[in-house]
């Protein structure tokens, strides 16, 4: 039947509608998909910047990028990956799945949802526009003044960066409000908080982090904008300001931000591992409440990013103790996921491979973080490649692998087609190998003392740098397998049943893809 005839029959095809419908939609499923498409594109843009960085580092004095352009690339790699890729990818899956998992027909504020997405798209445009306006910010995504101030970053790059991040932040706050209200108010009858899926638990905590922390980022960004353009002196030491104040306020947001990027990844893995082990999740309440604990503790540890800044040793001690504490709820989760596997009947589909891979390799990021919680050891390792190793293990081996698991898990539900499992497995194995060869040696470089953000380096660091560059390119190309899989499967993939995985949450009780109103009758949870 043609699209028009279908529509006339009162059953519009869930996916085949007009472009204008997609632009103005208030349907959380379509908004979720739009977040995913924009964020996937951004992931490749951020990845391109990373490959340019690695290309410059393939040997000492490679001369491929000038030092200033190199600094722009490292700044925008991180900025794009954090604000335009990881956070929106998780938001996309959250938007798609949370209302379905709650038995709701949409988010609490569907129109706000649409607005938040388009503000995110505007953020992407603003951030990338800097390249056409004389160059992007080049002071790192952490943008420490005075380097990011008016004297040492003249030009528009940092100002444009500030405006772009402001927009991303607004989107995040609006989205956070939507998730909180939806999760608290729109659960199906009988779904107490203790019967709610763990993905929704982690989104509840994440949404609170977004709402509470992001305004502080907005404040500190505005302070820098004013210092740069209106002659204020928040951070300018020559006028009585304090560069360290930036660090406190920036990290007050940016530490919770890393939990924003990992908590719903924990949620994804907590959904997938039980299904493909044919078991209930081990320690449901422990995983739920340890997520809350991580969320709260996450607000109390920001200065562990500042152990070398010279702030009082007594203050640093408190931050160190609180940082070490976070290992406990995180460990509880890791042990619970392993215990979930135990005694199960494990099917290693692509989704499950990525979920198990998450547990196996996020673990490395968690463990190397312990070194950074201990002040004297952190002082030796901070500002070096050890930190680059840590962040990429938690964000790539962690967040991104969970996001890939979610993609393989929910793709059939979203598009009514199965992804090709052989391609999925190739994607997984190539990623695992190349990712470890790219990031593990960074621990060695860090111990040897190679600082971060170096566009060239002495010869003694060359062997691992060359190795990492080669592996990074393999890693980049491995992700194209996934894109190819998506394109091919959308057209010719095996048709997906309502419940291809024998799932236990409500989204698997409706068709693939679901009708636009999600549920014909409101589900009741016993």
């Amino acid at each position: 039947m043609s699209t028009a005839a279908h529509a006339q029959a009162g059953h519009p095809h869930p996916l085949k509608t007009s472009l204008w419908d997609w632009i103005t939609t208030t349907d959380h499923k379509k908004i979720g998909i739009m977040y995913l498409i924009l964020a996937l594109f951004s992931f490749f843009v951020g990845g391109l910047f990373a490959l340019l960085v690695r290309l410059q580092l393939w040997r000492p004095d490679a001369g491929i990028l000038s030092p200033d352009v190199y600094n722009q690339m490292l700044t925008m790699h991180a900025t794009v990956m954090i604000f335009l890729a990881v956070i929106p990818l998780l938001t996309g899956f959250g938007n798609y799945a949370v209302p379905l998992m709650l038995g709701a027909k949409d988010m609490a504020f569907p129109r706000l949802n649409n607005v938040a997405f388009w503000i995110n798209a505007a953020a992407a445009i603003v951030l990338m526009s800097a390249f056409a306006m004389g160059g992007s910010a080049a002071a790192g995504w952490t943008s420490y003044p005075p380097l990011s101030g008016g004297i040492f970053s003249p030009g528009r790059g940092v100002d444009i960066w500030i405006l772009g991040i402001h927009l991303a932040g607004i989107s995040s706050i609006l989205g956070g409000v939507n998730f909180i209200v939806t999760i608290i108010n729109m659960r199906a009858p009988g779904m107490s908080l203790h019967k709610m899926p763990l993905f929704c638990w982690t989104w509840l905590v994440t949404a609170w982090l977004q709402v509470i922390a992001t305004p502080v980022l907005a404040g500190v960004l505005t302070m820098l904008l004013f210092d740069r353009n209106l002659g204020t002196s928040f951070f300018r030491p020559e006028a009585g300001g304090d560069p360290v104040l930036w660090q406190h306020l920036f990290w007050f947001y940016s530490h919770p931000a890393v939990y924003i990027m990992i908590l719903s990844a924990f949620g994804i893995v907590s959904e997938i591992i039980p299904i493909f082990s044919k078991k209930h999740i081990f320690g449901y309440l422990a995983i739920a409440y340890s997520s809350v604990a991580i969320g709260i503790l996450g607000f109390l540890v920001w200065a562990h990013h500042m152990f070398a800044s010279g702030i009082d040793v007594r203050a640093r001690t408190i931050f160190s103790v609180l940082t070490m504490l976070i290992a406990v709820p995180t460990g509880i989760k890791i042990f619970s996921w392993v215990a979930t596997l135990w005694g199960g009947n494990i099917r290693l589909t692509s989704a499950m491979l990525f979920a198990v891979g998450f547990v196996a390799f996020f673990l490395i990021g968690g463990l190397d973080g312990i070194f950074l919680a201990i002040i004297p050891v952190d002082i030796q390792l901070t500002h070096t490649y050890w930190v680059v190793a840590h962040i990429h293990y938690v964000l790539f081996a962690g967040s991104i692998m969970a996001i890939m698991a979610a993609a393989y898990y929910w793709f059939p539900k979203m598009f009514g087609r199965m992804l090709n499992e052989t391609m999925g497995k190739w994607h997984f194995w190539l990623t695992i190998v190349s990712m470890n060869v790219t990031f593990f040696p960074m621990h060695f470089l860090g111990v040897q003392g190679m600082p971060r953000r170096y566009y060239t380096y002495p010869a003694e660091f060359a062997f691992w740098n060359t190795t990492e560059t080669i592996a990074a390119f393999v890693m980049g190309f491995a992700q194209l397998i996934f894109v190819y899989n998506v394109i091919v499967s959308l057209r010719k993939g095996e048709k997906a049943p309502d419940d291809p995985w024998e799932g236990k949450t409500l989204e698997w009780t409706v068709s693939s893809p679901p009708p636009s109103h999600n549920f014909d009758t409101m589900p009741v949870i016993k």
């Binding site: 000038s66 030092p67 200033d68 600094n71 080049a138 002071a139 420490y144 005075p146 380097l147 040492f152 003249p154 304090d242 560069p243 360290v244 082990s277 044919k278 078991k279 081990f282 422990a286 800044s309 010279g310 040793v313 070490m324 290992a327 406990v328 509880i332 890791i334 042990f335 392993v338 215990a339 979930t340 596997l341 135990w342 005694g343 494990i346 290693l348 198990v356 547990v359 673990l363 463990l367 312990i370 201990i374 004297p376 050891v377 002082i379 030796q380 190739w426 194995w429 695992i432 190998v433 470890n436 060869v437 593990f440 060695f444 040897q448 003392g449 190679m450 971060r452 953000r453 170096y454």
Partner: protein
């Protein structure tokens, strides 16, 4: 076609994981740790905490992988498998909450003791040295001896407790000597204090470890730890040099000295060939700046630096040049004369007296 990829996958999968593990193990054996040489007591103490954490986290890693690997193999999919759906066990959960806390305490006790050791300087400090970061070089001052040096190795005496006062003149830098077991942010408007005792004479690598601008990777430095007699001799020599009056010098002498001084002080930005970096560091070779300004402007820039937008050879520059007033009148005159007459330039001589006259 698909079957060929599936076959290849089966051969690749198991090998891939084993390969990664084996490679990781071998690679971990490689890699030098500069703290192993125990050049300072701080390095040796920090290293012992580092190694303790390494053993504990290594053990945790092996433990989790062993259990997980076993579970993935033992409970792999079988059509007829009966699942044991246990999803809670109080004992297990208490144990795996308490054990990490115990491990953290085991790490914390030596860690906080070492923190005290590294943060609180011993009472018997023999000398204070000031470390000042600039874009893109390091300056060191020895206030007790009225010595100021820059763009050369930091000299320290072996076996004595030295207080380092670290700050910056412009943006945040970081003074990092991995062999010493610490690094310290150099923040403008703030003085950060560290203490160090170098127990082994030698030359140690130093890095700027905080992104400070385009040439962040070019602020490498060395620390030379010298036996006390050699250190005293170096100091005496440097004090004499500072005090020596400058007699009349010829243009040839200024050019010869200036070429060397230019190479070590100026070339990192303005380049050995005087071409600068377009849009970032202005050229000096065939530069119209010398036509537009007079000698005093040149001396002023060398003494006090320059910031704000300028146009050179039609290109705009809006950077920050630091001042080099820590160099002697003779050295500045040599550099300025070299810049005015190298690369086909012909803009006359600047004398040490002319430099001295403009110092405030």
């Amino acid at each position: 076609m698909v079957e060929r990829w599936q076959e290849a996958l089966k051969r690749f999968e198991g090998k891939a994981l084993l390969g990664v593990l084996a490679w990781g193990l071998m690679a971990s054996a490689a890699g030098a740790n500069p703290m192993d040489a125990a050049v300072t007591p701080i390095a040796s103490e920090v290293n012992s905490v580092y190694n303790l954490i390494l053993w504990i986290t290594g053990g945790l890693f092996v433990g989790v992988w062993a259990v997980m690997g076993y579970a993935l193999w033992k409970f792999r999919y079988r059509k007829d498998r009966k699942v044991n759906d246990f999803h809670g066990n109080l004992t297990l959960e208490v144990v795996w909450t308490v054990i990490p806390v115990i491990l953290l305490i085991i790490i914390s006790v030596p860690a906080f003791r070492v923190l005290q050791f590294t943060e609180y300087a011993p009472k018997d400090i023999s000398e204070t040295v000031e470390v000042i970061g600039h874009q893109f070089f390091w300056e060191y001052r020895y206030p007790d001896s009225s010595i100021t040096i820059a763009n050369q190795p930091l000299r320290l005496p072996v076996g004595q407790n030295i207080r380092l006062l670290v700050t910056s003149d412009d943006v945040i830098h970081n003074f990092s000597v991995p062999a010493f077991g610490f690094k310290q942010d150099a923040i403008p408007g703030r003085v950060n204090e560290r203490w160090v005792r170098v127990d082994k004479a030698g030359t140690y690598d130093g890095y700027c470890a905080a992104l400070c601008g385009a040439l962040h990777a070019n602020m490498l430095f060395k620390v030379e730890a010298m036996e006390p007699e050699a250190y005293a001799a170096w100091k005496a020599e440097n004090q004499k040099a500072a005090a020596a009056p400058t007699g009349p010098v010829t243009q040839e002498q200024l050019m010869a000295a200036g070429e060397k001084l230019y190479a070590s002080n100026c070339a990192s930005c303005h380049q050995v060939n005087g071409q600068g970096l377009p849009g970032v560091f202005p050229p000096l070779a065939n530069s119209d700046w010398f036509d537009k300004t007079d000698k005093n402007a040149h001396i002023d820039v060398m003494l006090n630096g320059l910031r704000g937008e300028i146009t050179v050879n039609g290109q705009k520059y809006n950077g920050v040049m630091p001042g080099f007033g820590h160099l002697s009148d003779l050295d500045l005159a040599a550099i300025a004369t070299y810049e005015r007459n190298a690369w086909g330039n012909n803009h006359g001589v600047i004398t040490p007296e002319e430099v001295k006259a403009l110092r405030k």
